[in-house]
Symmetry: C2
Subunit: 416 residues, 2 copies
C-alpha cells in the first residue's frame, strides 16, 4: 500500500514556510531553476532518451512519444516559461477589499496561498516544471505525480528544481515528485483530504473522470474541450471559413480546438463546399449529419451519436446542419464540456442570445476558440483551463492558485 502521508506532511510543512515568502525570495528561486534547467540540458536529455526508448520499445504510439520527447529547444522553452512566471505579479498578500464596520471593526480580505497543490498528469515532462513554477510563485507547495512514461525525465527535473530551492533559501519540499507511478499513488493523492488542498488533474478525459469520481480532495477539472462553432444565418461566411479552419487545424491536439461545427440550414448549402475546400488543405475528415452528406456527397463520413460527444484532438470535424439558433444552443448544451463555444454572426440579437444561453468558460462571437489561453487573455501563464464552475473557470493562473483570508482587527469589540 502506497503511503502518501509522509509526503503530504512534508508538503504541508514546506507550504507553511513558503506561504509568506517574499517575492524577492521566490523570484530568484525561479530564475535559478530556469538557469539550472538550461545548464543541465545534457543530463536531462540523457534521462529523456531512456524514457523515449522505453516508450518506443513498448510500442507507444508516436503522437504520445512526441509529448514525452524533449530536445534542447524544448528545454529552453520550458526555462523561458519559468522566467515568464517570475515576471508575473505575485498575487499573495493582495488586499482584495476592506472596510470599517459601524462598530469600528476593520475587516480586510486578503489573498493567500491555497497551501498544498497536487497535480496528477500524464506523459508531458514540461508539466513538471511549469506546474512547480506556478505553485512556487503563488506560495503553494507542489506535489507532482506524473505518468510512468516520463518518470526518469521527471525525476531529474524535480531534483534540479529542488536543488535550486535550497540555494534560494526555501525548503526543498516546496516541490516534491511522487516517484511511484502506479495507480495506488494517484489514488492515495485523491484521498489525501487534509494534506492536499486542491487536486488539479492535467490530462485526458479518463484521468479527470477518475479524479472527480474518487477524490475526497477538491478537484478542479481542466482541459477537456468539446468545442463548437455555430455559423448563424446572418454570418459572414468567409470569416466563418477562416475561423473554423483556424480553430480546427492551427493546432488540433489542444483543448480549445474546434470539434463540431453547427450550420444554420439557410447558409449550409453555400458554406459547405467552401469549408470543405479549405479543410481539404489539411486533409480534415468530415463526419456529417445526413444533410451535410446530401450537400457534400460521399466524401462525408456518417456522424454517429458518439461523434457529437467526442473530443477528437485530431484532423476530424463533426458537422451538423440545424434549423435555427435554438437548435444550435440545445445541441451545444447537450454535448458541450463547458470549455469554449463560438457563434459566427453579424446579428446582434443572435450574438446576445448565444452569449446568454451558452454555459461555458469562454463564449466567443466572431473569433477563433483557439484564444482560450492565459497569455492570449492577457492573464499570464496558466496551470490549466478550468471547465469547472467552482473557484476558477477558464484559464487558471496565479490568482486562481490562491484563496482568501479575512483579517479582522478590533479594540475589544464583542457581539451584542
Amino acid at each position: 500500500m502506497f503511503d502518501f502521508e509522509p509526503i503530504g506532511l512534508r508538503a504541508k510543512e514546506a507550504a507553511r514556510a513558503l506561504s509568506w515568502a517574499d517575492t524577492n525570495i521566490k523570484n530568484p528561486a525561479l530564475r535559478l531553476i530556469a538557469q539550472a534547467l538550461n545548464e543541465n540540458k545534457r543530463a536531462i536529455l540523457e534521462k529523456n532518451r531512456t524514457d523515449v526508448k522505453a516508450a518506443e520499445a513498448k510500442g507507444v504510439k508516436s503522437s504520445l512519444v512526441d509529448r514525452l520527447y524533449l530536445n534542447e529547444k524544448r528545454i529552453e522553452g520550458i526555462a523561458e516559461g519559468i522566467l515568464k512566471v517570475a515576471d508575473l505579479a505575485d498575487p499573495v498578500g493582495e488586499i482584495i477589499e476592506g472596510t470599517v464596520r459601524p462598530n469600528g471593526l476593520k475587516i480586510v480580505k486578503q489573498r493567500v496561498p491555497l497551501g498544498v497543490v497536487g497535480i496528477i498528469y500524464e506523459s508531458r515532462p514540461n508539466v513538471t516544471a511549469d506546474s512547480a513554477a506556478l505553485c512556487l510563485k503563488s506560495g503553494n507547495a507542489a506535489v507532482l505525480r506524473g505518468g510512468k512514461e516520463a518518470i526518469n525525465t521527471n525525476i531529474i527535473i524535480a531534483e534540479i528544481m529542488r536543488g535550486c530551492l535550497s540555494k534560494a533559501g526555501l525548503p526543498e519540499d516546496c516541490i516534491q515528485l511522487v516517484d511511484s507511478t502506479d495507480r495506488e499513488s494517484a489514488e492515495a493523492m485523491m484521498k489525501a483530504h487534509g494534506l492536499i488542498d486542491v487536486l488539479i488533474p492535467r490530462g485526458g478525459a479518463g484521468l479527470i473522470r477518475a479524479c472527480v469520481e474518487n477524490s475526497t480532495v477538491p478537484v478542479i477539472e481542466t482541459g477537456v474541450g468539446n468545442c463548437h462553432i455555430y455559423v448563424d444565418s446572418a454570418a459572414n461566411l468567409e470569416m466563418a471559413v477562416d475561423i473554423i479552419d483556424n480553430a480546427k487545424t492551427q493546432r488540433p491536439g489542444v483543448c480549445n480546438a474546434c470539434e463540431t461545427v453547427l450550420l444554420h440550414r439557410d447558409i449550409a448549402e453555400e458554406i459547405l463546399p467552401k469549408l470543405k475546400k479549405r479543410l481539404d488543405q489539411h486533409k480534415v475528415e468530415i463526419r456529417g449529419c445526413p444533410i451535410t452528406k446530401m450537400i457534400l456527397g460521399k466524401c462525408v463520413v456518417d456522424a454517429t451519436e458518439d461523434d457529437w460527444a467526442t473530443e477528437y484532438l485530431d484532423y476530424i470535424l463533426a458537422v451538423r446542419v440545424v434549423d435555427n439558433i435554438y437548435d444550435a444552443i440545445d445541441h451545444i448544451r447537450k454535448y458541450s464540456t463547458g470549455h469554449s463555444e463560438c457563434i459566427i454572426t453579424d446579428s446582434l440579437p443572435a450574438a446576445d442570445e448565444f452569449s446568454r444561453q451558452i454555459d461555458a468558460a469562454a463564449v466567443y462571437v466572431n473569433a477563433s476558440t483557439r484564444f482560450t489561453d492565459g497569455f492570449e487573455f492577457g492573464l499570464g501563464a496558466e496551470i490549466g483551463i478550468s471547465t469547472a464552475k467552482l473557484h476558477a473557470r477558464g484559464p487558471m493562473g496565479l490568482k486562481e492558485l490562491t484563496t482568501v483570508k479575512y483579517l479582522i482587527s478590533g479594540s475589544g469589540q464583542i457581539r451584542e
Copy 2:
C-alpha cells in the same frame, strides 16, 4: 433505489430559465414568498406541530427539538430574512473585469449563476426558506434535502414557495424539495455530477464529512468551527475576559463560538481566576491542561486529547496554558477547523505573526470570533460559513453562489 435524475433534470431546465431572469422578476417572487409565509403561518405551524410531536415521541433531545420548532415570531423572522435578500444587490451579470487585447479582441469576465445548487441539511426548517431565497436571488435552481424530523414543515414551506414562483412567472422547479429523507436520497445527490453544480451541506461535522467523502459533486464545507482565542503575554486582560466570555457564552450553539482558549504562561495565573469568575455566571465547565488545573484547582475537568479537537457547541471551554505564541500557533494549526481564530494582544509583532501564520477563514485581533457572519461583515445574508479554501472562504453570500464566464467578441480574429 432512489432516482435523482428526474429531479436533477427538472432543476437543470429551471436553472436555464432562471439564470438570466431580471432582478425585476426575482425580487417580486421573493416578496411574494415572504408574504405567503406570513399569510400561511397557521398551516405551517400545524405541520410543524406534527413534526415536533413526532420528534418528542421519539425522545429527540430538547435542544434538537428547539431547532425544529417554529412559532409565529420565527416564521415572521424567516419572512423578514427573505425580504432582506430581495434588498441585496443582484450579483448576476456584473462585469468583474474587461479588456481589449492588442489584436482587438474584447474580453469581459461576467458573473453568472452556478446553475443547480444542492443543499443537504438537518433539522432546521428555516434553512428551507433561507437557502431557497439565496439561490433564487443569485439565479440558481435549488434542490433542498432536509432532515426527516422536519419533513412535514419543509414540504409545506416548499409548496408555498413554489406557488409563489408560478405567480411571479418563474418555473416552480427553481425550488424543489426532495421528499425522501433516507440516506439514499442524500447519497444520490452526492453522486449527481452533471446535474448538481455544487453541494452545500449545512449541519454537523458528520454530515459534512459524509458529503466530502462520498460526493462526486463539488462540495463546499461549511460551518464546523473549532475556534480558538489565544491570550498573548502582552494582552489587555480585561478585554480578553470580555471577549472570551462573549465568544463562548453569547450563543454557544453556533459555529463561530469559541471552544478553546490558549493562555500565555506569563499571564495565566493572573487571568484564570478572573476568567473563571466571569464564566461561572454562565456555568461554563472548564476542561483544562495540568497547569490550568494547578492554578484553578479541582473545579477544572482534566482535558483529554479529544477536548482539543471538539466543537462543544455548549457551555464548555477547553483551556490550555502555552509557553509562547509559537506553541499557540502550533496548537491552532493542529486542531483548527479553519473557521475563526483570535489573538488578544497589544503587541503589533505578535498580532502580525498570528495573522500571517494562522490559516483560517477569519483571523481576529482583539475582537470576538462571534462576528464571523455575513451581516456582521457587511456582506448580507449567507448560505453558510465556508471553511473550505476553494471558491468561497468565510461567509458565503450571493456572490459566492455565482461563477464567471468569459465573453469574447471579435471581428474575425484567428490565432497565428
